[in-house]
Amino acid sequence: MDAVRIAVDIGGTFTDFVVEGAAGRMTFKLLTSTDAPARAVLDGIDRIIATMGVAPDDIAAVIHGTTLATNAVIERRIARVGFLTTEGFRDTLEMASEHRYDQYDLLIDRTPPLVPRNLRFTVRERIAADGAVLTPLDEAGLADVAEQIRAAGVESVGIGFLHSYRNPAHEARAGAILAGLLPGVPISLSSDVAPEIREYERFSTVVANAAVQPLMAGYLAVLRDGLRTRGIAAPLLLIQSNGGLCDVGTAMRYPVRLLESGPAGGSIFAAAVAAELGLERTLLLDVGGTTAKLCFIDDFSPQMARSMEVGRVNRFRAGSGLPLRLPVVELCEIGAGGGSLARIDPLGRLQVGPRSAGSRPGPACYGLGGTEPTVTDANLLAGRLDPANFADGSIPLHVDAAREAVAAHIAAPLAVSGSEAARFILAMINENMANAAREHAIDADRSLSGRVLIAIGGGGGLHAADLARVLGIGTIVIPRDAGVGSAVGFLRAPMAFERALSWPQPLDGGDLAATRRTVTALIAQTLADLAAAGESAAARTRLTAQMRYRGQGSEIAVDIAPDDLAASDAAGRLSAAFAAAYHALYRRNLAVPVEVLAWSARSEIVLDRAVPAAPSRRAGLVEGEVRPGPAMLVDTGTTIIVPEGWQARLVPGGHIVLARAA
C-alpha cells in the first residue's frame, strides 16, 4: 500500500480517525477511553493496520490533537503545582487584573488561580525594566524554598520573576538550582514558555504549563512508545493552539501549547479549502451543538491572536477565565448552537442562548427528557430537518415533543402560532450570530464585507445562508467532509514554530541596530526550533510587529517584510506600514509618534498537501449541476438550506457553493 498519514482527534465523547493516502480518505470514530486516553488511539491504529491493509511501514506520519490538556485545566485534574516568584509579588496570580467581568452581577466569583497561596513561594531578587539587576538572586535562600516545596509535596514547579522577558538570567539560575535540589520535579520558566511583558499573563501561562506537564508528558510517552512497539517509525506530531504542528519532544516541554488545539483544526481545514478554491478573504462559521465559532481567514491563513482564556467561570464572559499568553488561532465562541435554549425574558422579549441543553437531555425533540425549546427544535418545526435522517439517522427526532416545548414556552406567551414561534427563534439565533460576528470583526481588526463564508459543523449548512444575508455576504462554501473538519485539518497543518518577544521601542529615536539584531535572533530561533524537530525543508517566515501611536493602550499587528527592517530607511518603512494598517481599520491617521511594543516571528514548513480525489456526487447534486433555491439538501452530518434567491452548485473538489442568484 502507498504511504498514508493518520490524524487522530480526541474529543470528549469520540476519538476521530482520518486515514489519508493517494488512494483516498477513510474516517471512523471510537469511543474516547477517558481513563486512559492513549488506549483508544492505539486501538484505532491497530484497527487501521488490521483492517485497512496498512502496514506499519506505510504510515508516514501520525498527527494528533487532543482536548486532554484543556479538560485537565477546566476540571482541575492537574499536578500539585508550586510557583516561585519575586519577593513582594506572591499574589500576582490571585489578584489578576483586579476587575469585575460583570458590572451588574453582585454575586460573581473569580476563577481561582491554578496555584493556591500556600504553594506560592518568593525569593529575594529583582531585575529592572531595562534588564539591569537591582537585587542579586538570593541563591542561599533557594535552599529553604526547595525544602518547603519538597515538604509541600509539589509535583511540578513554575518560575516567574519580574522582567524576565528582558533578562532571563535569574529565572534560569533559580531553575538550575531547584532542579539540582528537587530531582524528578519538572520546572517551567516563564522566560522560556512566554517571554512577554505583563507579569500576570506570563505567570498564568507558566503555571498552566507546569500544571499539565506531568499528565501530558506521561500520556505522550505512552503514545510514542506504543507506536514504536507496533513498528511505526513515523514521527508522532502534535497539533498546537497556533494551528501548527510540533514534534513530541516540544510538546512534552511546552504542553500548554496544546491547549485548545482541537478547534484550531477546524480553522486549518477551512484555510486549506480557501486555498484550494483561491478564496483570499473568508470567514469560518462552525456551528456545533453548544456553540458556534467564527474565525477570519485572510490569504489562506487563519487569524492569529497572542493570547486566549481557559476555564472561564462564565463561558461567554471575557475576563472570567485564566489568560494564557500564547500564539493561538483567534476564534470567537458564541453561545449559539443546536442545543441553545429559547426563553421569554422579564420584558417579554425572546432570548435564545447562551444557555444550552447540551447533549443530555438535549433538545426536546431528542426525546431524552428535555422539555425546553432549542434551536434544533425550531429547525425541525420549520421543516429544515429530516426527523428520520438527523446525525445520519443516529438520533430519531420527535416532532411532537418539539412542538409542545415551543408551544408552551414561546408560542403561548407571545400569542403566535408554533411555526411563527419557530421562525422567531431561528431569526434571533441568526441575529445573535450576526451581532457577535460584527463585534468580533472590531475586536479582531477585520472587516466583514466581501468575504466568503465557509460553513462547517453539524449546523453550518442550516444557518449559513441566513447569516450571510444579514452580514451582506453573497457566497458560501460548505466544504467536503465538513463534519470531521478538525481531524482533516490536522492533515493540512504545517510544521510551525512561533516566538514572540516584548521589545518596546519608539520608531523615531529607537535603537534600530539593536532591534535588527533582536528580531534576526528571534527569526533564527524559530528556524532552529524547526531544525530541532527534524525539519530541514525551506521554511517560510512571517514577521509581525505590535505597533501603536504612543499613548494608546491597544496595539495592532502589522506584517513587516524583513527587507524593510533591514533597509536604511527602516523607520520610515515601518511607519508607513503602520499608517496603512491603522487607516484601513479606523479611516484616520494621527500626527502622533509611533512605537513598537513587541515582535513575533512564525516560521513554517508546509507538508505534503495532496488532497485525495473527491466524489463527483454529494447531497443529491452532481458536479457542475446548479440547484436553485428554495431547496433543502440532505448531506452527511448536516442539512444545507438554500433560500429563495440563492443557488447551490457542486464544484470540483466535492465542495458545495451557495451563491446569491444573479
Binding site: 476587575h99 511583558i197 422579564p346 472590531i442 493602550g553
Partner: protein, 535 residues
C-alpha cells in the same frame, strides 16, 4: 403584528450591537488610560426627540445617564430643525454632560433620505484638558481647564478649524485630543451608516415605532420590578473621609405606587475643593446601584430610567452649582452605589453585600528621572464587601470596572520600582463570610531621587462597615517605608531614598464571625489570609 414585534426586537438588539461596536472602537483608539483600561466612556443612540434608546454595555457606571441628559441640553441649545447632514456638536460642560471638564461629548444627528431620524453620541475622558490637571486642588471650575460650551464642531462634514485651534492651544497634549475628537466624529458617522443600512434591510423610513416600543417595554419592565418590592422608606448613612473634613452621605429610598425615589437630603454641603458632583453624575452612580439591586437584566434607556428618580438638595456635595470645582468627582461618586445598596439591605437580604473599599487607590507619582520628568498613575483595588452567600472579592474594584496596569508596564514607562504589590493579610472584615482583602503596595524611584505623591485615598478614617453582624474591614494606611504617616489626600514630597507604602482597605464581613465554619477558618489560616486567631 407579531412579525412587526419580531422585527422590532431584532432592531433593538441590533441598535445595542451598533453602540457596542462604537464603544469597542473608542476603547481601542483612545489615548486616555481610564478609557482603555476601564471603559471610561459612553456610546448611545437617541430618537429624534432626544430620548436615549440604547447605550453600550461597555462603559462605567458614571456615564449611565449622563449621556441621556446631555442629549436634551444639546437639543435645547441647537434645535433639531436647524441641523443638517454632516453636523456634529460638542461640549465638556460638567453640568450639561458628565460632571467634569475632562469628558468631551460629541453629539451628531443621523439623516435618512434628508430627514433627521435620530442622534448618536459618545463621551470619552481626555488625557488633558489644560488647567491644573485631574485633581481636586482647584477652587473653582475655571481653574480646572478649558470650558467648551455646547457648540458646533462640524457643519456639513467640515470640522471647524478655528475651534480646533482654540482647543489645541489650551491643552498640554494637542495631538492626542485632536485625534480623540476626530475619532468620536468617525465613530458617530460609522454608527449612523450602520443604522441606515439596518433600516434599508427592514425597509423602514424611520425608528419612531421602534423607539416607542423600546421606551414603553423598558419602562413597564422597570415598573414591574419596582412593583415586586414592598412600599416603604429606608435610610442609609455613610461617613467617608472626604478631602479635609469627613463627608456624610445620606440616602432615603422611597418606594410607593408612583415608583422609586432616592432622596439624598441630609448629605454634606459642597467642598471648597474639586471632589464635588453635579446632579447628572450623582444620578448616574445612584441609578447604577438601583439597577444592580432590582433589574440588572433591563437595558439602559429613556424608558428604564424614567421610573427611578434621584434628587439631591442644591448646594450639597452631590448637587453642586457653578462654579464649584468638580474635576475629581469620582472620589465621592464611587461610594454612591454602596450608599444606595445599603438602603436595599433589608429588602433584598440575599443580594446586598457589606461595604467594601469602593474608591480605587490610584497611585499618582510625579518626579524627574534620567530621561526627564515623569508623571504616572496606576490603579490598585482594595477589598470588596462580603456577600450574603460568599466571601468578598480580594483586591477587586467595585463599582468601577477599572483594571490594574501591570507592574512591568508601569516600570517600562516611568523610572519607578514597585517593590511590593500583594494581598494584605488580616484586612478582610471577619464574619460568617469574610470581607475581601486589601493589598499593600510599596513604590519608589529607580535612582532613589525624591518624588511627589498625589494622594486621593479614602476609607482611612472610616473603614468599610460589615453587615448583619459582620466586622468592618481594615482601614487604609498611607505612609513612608520608615513607618512615618502621610496624609491620605493632597500633594506631598517624598524625600530621596524613601518609598511610599499604602495598605489598602479591606471589605466588611457579612454575618457574625462565630458563624464561620471551622473548615473555612482553617483554610484562611493555611492560606495566610488570616495570620492568627479567628477570621
Amino acid at each position: 403584528m407579531s412579525a412587526d414585534r419580531l422585527a422590532r426586537q431584532i432592531l433593538w438588539s441590533r441598535l445595542i450591537a451598533v453602540v457596542e461596536e462604537q464603544a469597542k472602537t473608542l476603547m481601542k483608539t483612545a489615548f486616555s488610560a481610564t478609557v482603555r483600561e476601564a471603559g471610561d466612556l459612553s456610546a448611545a443612540v437617541f430618537d429624534r426627540h432626544g430620548r436615549m434608546l440604547a447605550q453600550a454595555r461597555t462603559g462605567t457606571p458614571g456615564h449611565v445617564n449622563c449621556t441621556a441628559i446631555a442629549a436634551r441640553h444639546f437639543l435645547n441649545a441647537f434645535p433639531a430643525a436647524g441641523m443638517a447632514e454632516g453636523d456634529h456638536y460638542l461640549t465638556n460642560d460638567p453640568w450639561l454632560a458628565s460632571g467634569h471638564l475632562h469628558d468631551i461629548t460629541v453629539f451628531s444627528p443621523v439623516f435618512r433620505r434628508g430627514v433627521l431620524i435620530g442622534f448618536f453620541a459618545c463621551t470619552c475622558h481626555q488625557v488633558d484638558i489644560g488647567g491644573l490637571g485631574m485633581g481636586p486642588d482647584a477652587r473653582s471650575v475655571h481653574e480646572e481647564g478649558l470650558y467648551i460650551p455646547i457648540m458646533p464642531l462640524a457643519r456639513g462634514g467640515v470640522v471647524d478649524a478655528h475651534l480646533m485651534r482654540l482647543i489645541r492651544a489650551n491643552v498640554r497634549t494637542p495631538d492626542e485630543i485632536e485625534g480623540d475628537i476626530l475619532s468620536y466624529v468617525t465613530a458617530n458617522e460609522f454608527s449612523a451608516a450602520r443604522l441606515n443600512a439596518m433600516l434599508d434591510e427592514f425597509a423602514l423610513a424611520h425608528i419612531e415605532a421602534l423607539a416607542d416600543d423600546i421606551v414603553s417595554t423598558s419602562e413597564a419592565g422597570t415598573r414591574a420590578a419596582i412593583a415586586a418590592l414592598p412600599h416603604g422608606r429606608w435610610r442609609n448613612h455613610m461617613r467617608i473621609d472626604g478631602y479635609d473634613a469627613p463627608v456624610d452621605l445620606v440616602a432615603t429610598l422611597v418606594i410607593d405606587e408612583t415608583g422609586l425615589l432616592v432622596d439624598l437630603e441630609g448629605t454634606s454641603p459642597a467642598s471648597p475643593r474639586g471632589i464635588n458632583l453635579v446632579l447628572n453624575y450623582t444620578q448616574a452612580y445612584v441609578g447604577y446601584g438601583v439597577r444592580a439591586a432590582i433589574a440588572p437584566e433591563i437595558p439602559n434607556n429613556h424608558g428604564s430610567l424614567l421610573p427611578v428618580r434621584v434628587v439631591a438638595p442644591p448646594g450639597c456635595i452631590l448637587n453642586v452649582q457653578r462654579p464649584a470645582p468638580v474635576a475629581a468627582r469620582h472620589i465621592i461618586g464611587q461610594f454612591l452605589p454602596e450608599l444606595v445598596l445599603g438602603c436595599f439591605a433589608e429588602l433584598l437580604p440575599d443580594l446586598i453585600p457589606a461595604e467594601g473599599a469602593a474608591a480605587n487607590w490610584g497611585l499618582q507619582l510625579r518626579g524627574r528621572g534620567e530621561r526627564g520628568p515623569f508623571n504616572i498613575l496606576f490603579f490598585n483595588a482594595g477589598g470588596s464587601g462580603a456577600r450574603p452567600s460568599r466571601d468578598g472579592l480580594s483586591a477587586t474594584a467595585f463599582p468601577s470596572g477599572i483594571r490594574s496596569i501591570p507592574v512591568e508596564i508601569c516600570e517600562a514607562v516611568a523610572p519607578i520600582v514597585i517593590h511590593r504589590k500583594e494581598l494584605r493579610p488580616d484586612s478582610g472584615g471577619a464574619g460568617r463570610w469574610r470581607g475581601g482583602l486589601g493589598q499593600t503596595v510599596e513604590v519608589g524611584t529607580r535612582d532613589g531621587a525624591g518624588f511627589e505623591l498625589f494622594a486621593v485615598f479614602d476609607r482611612v478614617d472610616y473603614p468599610a462597615r460589615g453587615r448583619a453582624g459582620g466586622e468592618p474591614g481594615a482601614p487604609g494606611l498611607v505612609a513612608l517605608d520608615t513607618g512615618e504617616s502621610l496624609r491620605p489626600k493632597g500633594l506631598q514630597a517624598i524625600p530621596a531614598g524613601r518609598r511610599v507604602r499604602v495598605d489598602l482597605p479591606g471589605g466588611g464581613g457579612f454575618g457574625p464571625p462565630e458563624g464561620r465554619p471551622a473548615d473555612r477558618q482553617a483554610q484562611d489560616v493555611a492560606q495566610g489570609y488570616v495570620t492568627g486567631g479567628l477570621s
